[in-house]
């Protein structure tokens, strides 16, 4: 566990800074209150609002670790939301709608995986296809309007409370734990990192690379469908144009802040989740400060640029020198 804290150090510091900034903007941000069996508070808020991006980051991290990328997750969110809304409106029970949405995510992921693995398209191109076409598919399902629904079961995906926590928070945490176990309690993590670092060496060592590649895209599609369900339940409707719009970029950023290189290789689900929480914390802070929304994007971009520059190979030696000097001074 101490190894994890070492790896997460810079990210934890950043998270602390973001939370402090939130406290500065809204004193009492860290307070937790229990009202009618549900926890309220700034941190719960961040996790609840951030659940879709956390889910996307959980799916995106293994994809990026294989030296790939999935640009289509925002569009998959829209399709999954549309499928769910259309099924309850067609009279199906909400569990059927949920299963239909998840199945749609699986199929979308399989499509991406097959394009990348069997047809050897570059991941950025392969998933760009669904990124563009996906919104069209979602619009066809919603027939061009926001497809609202009144089914309380489906809406509950976003609004229900379980064990005092909002359901989206629990879904995101459960997805993180299941994915973490799936990659680390089995050999999948090792295989993903081997394929991402050196595809040829991995193949010659007998790693089943095609299966691994298809698998990570399928998983990413599934996570995107979960995120899409939450987004649709949140507004009690499927908005083909705006659901999940640009969230693929947030997810990629979260994974990169989590320390995974876009060149593939080492990855961490927990650090990617941390990255997504940091992003959401920043967004919450800027909104609460009452700053104009256009500043939101600018500030986020600045902070992200700073994080990435600090993590860059060009900066690491200087930082290492600085920390040893500080440590020495501290010891003296």
């Amino acid at each position: 566990m101490s190894g994890w804290f070492m790896a997460a150090r810079s990210r934890l510091i950043l998270l602390a800074l973001v939370l402090l900034a939130n406290v500065a903007v809204a004193p009492g941000f860290l307070e937790l209150r229990l009202v009618e069996g549900r926890l309220f508070g700034g941190i719960i808020d961040i996790l609840n609002r951030g659940a879709p991006v956390i889910l996307l980051a959980i799916g995106m991290a293994p994809v990026i670790a294989t030296r790939g990328i999935d640009l289509s997750v925002g569009a998959i969110m829209a399709i999954a939301g549309a499928v769910a809304a259309a099924s309850v409106n067609a009279g199906h029970a909400w569990p059927v709608a949920v299963l239909a949405a998840l199945g749609t995510g699986l199929v979308c992921g399989l499509w991406n995986g097959v394009l990348v693995t069997i047809f050897r398209l570059q991941p950025i191109v392969a998933t760009l296809i669904l990124m563009v076409a996906g919104r069209g598919i979602a619009q066809m399902i919603t027939e061009g309007r926001v497809l609202t629904f009144t089914d309380d079961g489906l809406a509950g995906v976003s609004s229900a409370t379980l064990l005092g926590l909002p359901l989206p928070v629990l879904i995101a945490l459960a997805a993180a734990m299941i994915t973490g176990l799936l990659v680390r309690a089995t050999a999948l993590g090792l295989f993903i990192e081997a394929v991402g670092t050196s595809p040829r060496a991995a193949r010659l060592a007998g790693v089943p690379a095609p299966g691994i590649l298809i698998g990570v895209y399928v998983w990413s599609g599934l996570m995107a469908a979960l995120a899409g369900l939450i987004a649709a339940a949140d507004i009690r409707g499927a908005d083909a144009n705006n659901a999940g719009l640009w969230l693929e970029l947030d997810a990629i950023l979260a994974v990169v802040i989590g320390g995974t290189s876009l060149y593939g290789g080492r990855f961490s689900i927990s650090l990617s989740v941390l990255g997504a929480v940091i992003l959401q914390g920043m967004r919450t802070c800027i909104l609460r400060a009452g700053l104009p929304p256009e500043l939101n994007l600018l500030l986020m971009a600045l902070v992200i640029a700073l994080v990435l520059v600090v993590q860059s190979p060009a900066c690491q030696p200087a930082i290492a020198r600085l920390t040893t000097r500080l440590r020495r001074r501290g010891a003296a």
Partner: protein
């Protein structure tokens, strides 16, 4: 040796060390004005490193380079070019989407009032190309032309940059015989004009056709410089493959033993454009050596045998049963293991730890669900680190920090952990230090004595002759012979590689 007055470039004691391996060790090279000089050697002999030092792509660690008696120390290819040393590589390093003229004058465009004078650039480019016998429109994009023409354009650019020493790195690898003839005529003209041309190739016919002198490198060291006309082909191959000049091997050949049970039989296995059908029998407790020059098809036999390439002819019989290999996983399931030639690209997984690299093949065979527990992984890694004497403080270190020899041992460990019945090794001792080299040879002999079947591709003929029971010789992508018993000697292997007296079937040289 040679006329000192005509010496254009002389390099002395050039040395370059990479972590754990001496890529170039005190190498001398002399190029005379007006000569075409071949630079020969197997992969890892140090040819690329030597070129990199001459062109300033890498800094010289020790040694000196003199051009016209004046010491030069290029810090970049641009600086070397300014001194008159230019290299043209097999992979064209020009920009395909720019025009021919733009490529020729890239970075030194003629200007007029501060703007690029395109008309003049095209005019001068056309004149320059005409001198090289190329009547093409310089305004066309480079990609509109064949590889051969692009190659010539690259040379034209190099020569126009007032090159005095022109280095051609495998320029003929993707040319047909007519194009080769054009290139050779150009090389002769350039040499006649007083330049020195350093020609790197693995086509020996072409060496004899066009060069005046030959410098041979092996394992980062200079083997020698000879006049081409005075060096029989047999002696040249012996120099390249490290056969000692004096009679037969200094290494003790192991005593003849009872042949083991046949494990793998290869019948007419081949693939078009890769390697012609070949036959081999691999027995338990035996080493089948595979010899041949670079490009002879030796590596390709291993790729077919391991399923890394799918054969389109012939069959593999394992334990008396025919098998089909759809990929490496099928071969691994049969108990095969493969250490590829390019350790860095095809062997190690650089980001991962030594332990992860060692367990990778075993884990891949167990499948993703049956993860080896971390304790078991550590135990396996520690066992092999100790057994193979891998020098590292810790199994958790990234494997890329190890020296070449220790990386190779870790790759051997990766396969030994799967308890293989057949180990396929492509150049297992290339590019590694002397100590690890000897350890690996001892290990192979030990594995053989324990009953493993070994298929060892090597360009070290002395060694192969010492430890192999039989040797398959490859030439020009086909099987050229199979030596067994007392016939396995360095001389016999080189004879079979060169096949003296026969006319090489190569149609390349005109």
């Amino acid at each position: 040796m040679g006329d000192l007055a005509a010496t254009l470039l002389s390099a002395h004691g050039l040395t370059r060390t990479y972590p754990g391996v001496r890529a170039l060790d005190g190498v001398d090279l002399t190029l005379r004005a007006g000569e075409i000089h071949a630079l020969l050697g197997e992969n890892g002999a140090g040819k690329s490193t030597l070129i990199n030092l001459l062109t300033g792509a890498q800094p010289v660690e020790a040694g000196s380079i003199h051009l016209d008696g004046r010491e030069v120390r290029p810090k970049s290819p641009a600086e070397a070019a300014a001194n008159g040393i230019v290299a043209v590589y097999q992979e064209i390093t020009l920009l395909p989407n720019l025009s021919v003229a733009e490529n020729i004058y890239l970075g030194r465009e003629p200007t007029r009032f501060g703007l690029v004078d395109r008309a003049r650039m095209r005019r001068e480019a056309a004149l320059l190309l005409a001198r090289f016998g190329l009547s093409i429109d310089p305004a066309q994009p480079l990609s509109a032309f064949s590889t051969a023409v692009q190659q010539l354009i690259a040379i034209a650019r190099a020569v126009d940059m007032s090159a005095r020493v022109l280095i051609l790195d495998e320029p003929t690898a993707s040319l047909d015989s007519a194009e080769v003839a054009v290139l050779f005529r150009l090389m002769r003209e350039l040499a006649a004009s007083g330049m020195a041309v350093l020609f790197v190739t693995h086509f020996l016919d072409q060496v004899y056709e066009v060069t005046d002198r030959i410098t041979v490198l092996r394992g980062g060291k200079l083997v020698g410089e000879r006049r081409t006309a005075a060096l029989p082909r047999l002696d040249l191959v012996a120099m390249m493959l490290g056969k000692l000049p004096s009679g037969d091997s200094h290494l003790q050949r192991h005593a003849a033993r009872e042949p083991g049970a046949p494990f793998v039989t290869v019948n007419g296995l081949g693939k078009q454009h890769l390697v012609a059908p070949f036959n081999a029998e691999i027995r338990q407790g035996e080493v089948l050596g595979v010899a041949g020059l670079l490009g002879s098809g030796r590596t390709e036999t291993a790729l077919l045998l391991f399923g890394a390439e799918r054969a389109d002819a012939g069959e593999i019989i394992v334990d008396g049963r025919p098998v089909t290999l759809k990929g490496p996983r099928d071969a691994i399931r049969l108990g095969f293991g493969f250490c590829p030639e390019d350790r860095k690209l095809d062997g190690i997984v650089p980001d991962l730890s030594i332990a992860e690299n060692i367990v990778l093949a075993l884990q891949a065979r167990l499948g993703w669900m049956k993860r080896l527990p971390p304790a078991r992984q550590r135990e396996l890694a520690d066992t092999y680190i100790k057994l193979l004497n891998i020098r590292t403080p810790d199994a958790e270190k990234p494997i890329q920090l190890l020296s070449g020899g220790n990386q190779q041992k870790a790759l051997l460990a990766r396969w030994l952990a799967t308890q293989p019945r057949l180990l396929i090794l492509d150049e297992p001792t290339r590019g590694i230090d002397v100590g690890a080299h000897a350890e690996i040879i001892l290990l192979l002999e030990k594995l053989r004595d324990e009953g493993m079947a070994l298929y060892v591709i090597s360009s070290e003929v002395e060694e192969v002759a010492a430890y192999a029971d039989r040797v398959m010789v490859m030439r020009e992508r086909r099987q050229a012979g199979m030596l067994a018993g007392d016939d396995v000697t360095p001389s016999a292997i080189i004879d079979a590689i060169v096949m003296p007296g026969a006319v090489p079937p190569s149609g390349r040289a005109a």
